[in-house]
């Protein structure tokens, strides 16, 4: 039996030490009627057979390594230096539990402290937690933080329609048991100015995205001022890779910054595991969800790290905790810490600029193809919206014939935007690939 080291002698002696005659005798407390069900499952296979079965399953997919990819919409194909996975495969990191025993966990604890530092410095915020599941759940937790901050006396969240649709849906799932109105996102084309009338004395938080779901780079100064004047918090959902180039969200006086950390060295992996970023201003630290690592010293006077402010958490406060989160995504936080370290000050800027320039080249080239038109003139980072001459699904089908994974069909979540494609370009897309993409779009338009 794989991974079970017991010999027949071991089993016999151990049962004797326990004082029972057989393994079956260990289950007297289990109702006899239901004991030992005959499960309808496949029989065991060897490691060799499993490896080839998994290989075959993986090859039944089209992947972004063998096909050009222009699909983003919240998950992006970026370059990851080899260093990152080599560190993730260190057994002492990935086979450890949550660092509850700090004397044996300084590796994880210091790595998380460095992650917190890197994310704070990237976003301009004062406090980062040790991670949340993903961008969507981090936003849902931000909403809970805002409600707690107002002690349940405010009952409204203003949500920009340009926040990722999955994030908005997740917020609504989390909040279905709460007495709360979520407003502002019922019209796809509402910019920050159009959100202002929704903000009032009952508003706990205003949440926007940067760059927004359509790729736009928006200035949230005014929105932040109006939100704060009304006593509401401003939450900004970020793409952290874009912050290699763009002004940090702290410039807009954000109270909470959350986001999806996947672009920072984490593979697409069909949607997960990813990395939920969760940062706040210092004054909100005691309302924060999730684990925090703080600096201290050990009994020998060495600098060391521990989990801190744990009275916020479920294992101490139970139903009064700031969140139920226990397991987070520590290993993904480690991946992003290694990624940000190795990319560094110059590398992250360079990647962000590569994305920016390539996306602008692609947008200009596609804009020259008859029938395609850039949706609007707003500034964008590495994603943009193209009005298409045909249904997006048809175009994407055609692109697949050219081994190109096309953009995101906005009509799926925004009925007003049927026939619009959201196109993402990253440093992984060479000029040749972009030119082939443009040519294939041109061909699709003629079909």
């Amino acid at each position: 039996m794989a991974y079970i080291p017991h010999t027949d002698d071991d089993r016999r002696d151990m049962l004797a030490a326990i004082g029972v005659g057989s393994l079956d005798d260990l289950y007297q407390a289990v109702p006899a009627k239901y004991r030992f069900p005959d499960l309808d499952l496949p029989e065991a296979i060897s490691e060799l057979e499993a490896a080839s079965e998994l290989q075959a399953l993986s090859e039944a997919n089209l992947d972004v390594r063998h096909n050009a990819c222009f699909l983003g919409a919240g998950a992006y194909h970026h370059f990851t230096p080899s260093v990152v996975d080599h560190i993730l495969r260190r057994n002492e990191f990935y086979t450890a539990y949550t660092p509850y025993q700090p004397e044996l966990s300084q590796g994880t604890l210091q790595a998380i402290f460095e992650y917190q530092s890197l994310i704070c410095n990237l976003t301009g915020m004062e406090v980062s937690n040790a991670s949340h599941y993903d961008g969507a759940t981090a936003l849902a937790e931000a909403v809970i933080l805002a409600l707690n901050q107002h002690r349940g006396k405010r009952h409204k969240i203003v949500l920009s329609p340009a926040v990722h649709p999955h994030y908005r849906q997740t917020v609504r799932t989390y909040m279905q048991g709460m007495d709360l109105k979520i407003v502002g996102d019922d019209d796809c084309c509402r910019g920050p100015e159009e959100l202002l009338p929704f903000i009032d004395a009952d508003t706990a938080m205003v949440a926007v995205q940067y760059p927004d779901f359509f790729g736009h780079i928006v200035d949230f100064h005014r929105l932040g001022e109006v939100a704060h004047a009304a006593g509401a918090l401003l939450c900004i959902v970020v793409n952290p890779l874009a912050l290699g180039l763009l002004r940090p969200p702290s410039d807009f006086d954000a109270d909470v910054v959350v986001g999806e950390g996947q672009p920072l060295g984490i593979p697409l992996s069909y949607g997960g595991p990813y990395l939920g970023l969760f940062t706040t201003k210092q004054e909100l630290v005691r309302k924060m969800a999730g684990r925090l690592v703080g600096e201290t010293v050990d009994s020998r006077g060495q600098r060391g790290y521990v989990l801190t402010l744990t009275p916020r958490e479920q294992h101490i406060r139970r139903e009064k905790a700031t969140s139920n989160i226990c397991t987070n995504v520590a290993l993904m936080a480690l991946a992003s810490a290694v990624y940000l370290s190795v990319m560094g000050r110059q590398g992250l800027r360079q990647v962000a600029e590569l994305c920016y320039h390539k996306a602008h080249y692609a947008a200009a080239e596609i804009g020259r193809v008859p029938g395609f038109r850039l949706w609007n003139e707003a500034e964008f980072f590495n994603e943009f919206v193209m009005a298409c001459p045909q249904p997006v699904a048809e175009i994407n089908e055609h692109l697949l014939e050219h081994e190109i994974i096309g953009g995101y069909d906005l009509g799926a979540e925004y009925p007003q935007l049927a026939g619009h494609m959201l196109i993402a370009v990253t440093e992984m897309n060479s000029r040749d690939e972009i030119d082939d993409f443009v040519a294939a779009l041109e061909e699709a338009a003629h079909d």
Partner: protein, 492 residues
């Protein structure tokens, strides 16, 4: 042994990565929207590698040694899992690709759903929840949605035994429901009289961990489920301890209506120093339509030997999605591989040897450490880390001293209903020799507690770090470091 921070290794102008030049014409950068200062470190690749390798060496993992952390199921994480999860077709597929281009992924997820249904005795499974607590929140929202669909909005109470994990009450509160705590009886079961008294028309359900956090199978489980169902409530199962039940009994057969699995405990996916996990939720037939989605279904049956066509479907009255995309797919790949290799007979063997190992340790240690609920346990048991003859010695001291003997300590101070609890879960992947060495260490520590208690109070001695000052950490609250040059730049 102090390792510098990555920022301490930084030197202006140093590079850690080589990137290609731009091969397209440059576009003007957006005026007024770019940042001036990017406060990231500047280090070389070898700096990064050595730094993080040295940090890893300050950690203790399952691959370092025995890790009997109760309720965490720290079993061996098979290495093939790590390899297959990184196959290009899995690791480099985009979650929003057309389903026809990711049939391999969907087939794999479908199998995991089907196998979890069979193992748990359920009619539907959603793989979306990201962790155990996330599965709990999902489950309570399903309970709520079900009652409201019956036109019953008055059921707002969730009954939770006092032995439960903290996540249970926290998840309940997050779902907008009210927690009612139930006491345990003298044998470690849920107290039936209290349960009977609490069951009324305001009860939405009961949350139960079985085996419970004492490692004991609830002796009156069928009666407990019957009482809750009779008053119109549903039973939620916390699957943290499912390792003891694989092939032994199916929670769905015992009366659980909603149940979460922990792929990172029972199905061998690694804990990663605190995550990522994966917390799929299984439900009985009348709750399937409330599951979070999307879930994988066969949308077109295959003819003859052809594979069917799989698609992503949102259940009819779904509570909604609980995260972006489809769940922690990388963990689904690992759990698939594990279940596929174990097969039907292997799953039963896992439970058998997990339970055998726990009972063996209990039998060997019960003469030295008091076991307050001393009967045949499942995959774990709880002992007390205190002796009348050694006043002043606490469970924490025992745990810290265990580190000097080369072991990771058990879970401390949980469950709350046992004083000075040491919760010990060996898992099935440990050999008898390892367990015997652990027993020897525990016996030696019990002797030291009486003869030389100070050696326990000041432990650990042989680890790279001594006890850390948690009070100071909370008081001074240093949660992040800024590069020195940034502070200078701000002052200018």
């Amino acid at each position: 042994m102090t390792e510098p921070l990555i920022y301490d290794l930084s030197a202006p102008g140093r590079l850690g990565v080589s990137l290609p030049e731009t091969d397209v014409p440059l576009a003007p950068l957006p005026a007024g929207l770019t940042r001036d200062v990017l406060p990231l470190p500047e280090v070389s690749e070898i700096d990064v590698v050595r730094h993080f390798v040295r940090l890893s060496q300050l950690n203790y993992g399952i691959d370092t040694g025995f890790y009997p952390l109760g309720s965490c199921t720290m079993k061996y994480n098979p290495k093939i899992n790590e390899d297959v999860a990184r196959l290009s077709g899995f690791a480099h597929t985009h979650p929003l690709q057309d389903p026809t281009t990711v049939q391999g992924n969907l087939a794999l997820m479908y199998s995991v759903q089907e196998w979890l249904k069979e193992i748990g005795g359920f009619d539907g499974v959603s793989l979306q929840p990201a962790a155990g607590a996330h599965g709990e929140l999902t489950g309570i929202l399903i309970l709520r949605a079900y009652h409201r669909a019956q036109g019953d909005a008055k059921r707002t109470k969730i009954l939770i035994p006092d032995s439960a994990h903290g996540t249970n009450p926290a998840s309940t509160a997050m779902a907008g429901m009210q927690v009612v705590e139930l006491p345990s009886d003298s044998r470690g079961n849920i107290d039936l009289e209290s349960l009977r008294a609490a069951c009324d028309a305001t009860v939405a359900g009961l949350m139960l961990t079985n085996p419970n956090t004492l490692g004991l199978f609830e002796e009156h489980l069928l009666e407990v489920a019957r009482l809750v169902h009779e008053c119109g409530g549903l039973v939620y199962g916390d699957g943290a301890n499912m390792n003891a039940l694989l092939g032994i009994v199916r929670p769905g057969d015992l009366g659980f209506d909603v149940f979460h699995f922990n792929l990172h405990k029972t199905f061998s996916t690694p804990h990663g120093g605190g995550g990522p996990g994966s917390g799929p939720v299984g439900v009985v037939s009348h709750l399937v339509e409330f599951l979070p989605g999307p879930i994988v279904e066969i949308v077109e049956a295959g003819e003859d030997d052809e594979a069917p066509l799989y698609g992503l479907v949102m259940p009819a009255r779904s509570i909604g999605r609980v995260k972006a995309f489809h769940g922690h797919f990388g963990m689904h790949v690992r759990a698939f591989t594990y279940m596929r290799m174990q097969g039907k007979s292997g799953l039963r063997a896992i439970a058998d040897h997990a339970v055998l190992n726990a009972n063996y340790l209990r039998a060997r240690l019960r003469g030295t450490y008091h076991v307050p609920f001393d009967r045949i346990c499942m995959h774990e048991f709880v002992a007390e880390g205190k002796w009348d003859e050694a006043p002043g010695v606490r469970a924490l001291d025992v745990s810290k001293r265990l580190m000097d003997y080369g072991f990771h300590p058990p879970t401390n101070y949980f469950p709350l209903i046992v004083h000075e609890a040491l919760m010990i879960e060996p898992t099935e992947t440990e050999s008898r020799e390892t367990l015997d060495m652990f027993v020897k260490a525990m016996e030696a520590i019990a002797r030291e507690a009486r003869s030389d208690p100070d050696v326990l109070h000041t432990a650990p001695h042989n680890t790279p770090f001594g006890r850390l000052d948690e009070v100071r950490a909370a008081k001074e609250l240093v949660l992040c470091c800024r590069p020195a040059w940034l502070e200078g730049a701000k002052a200018e």
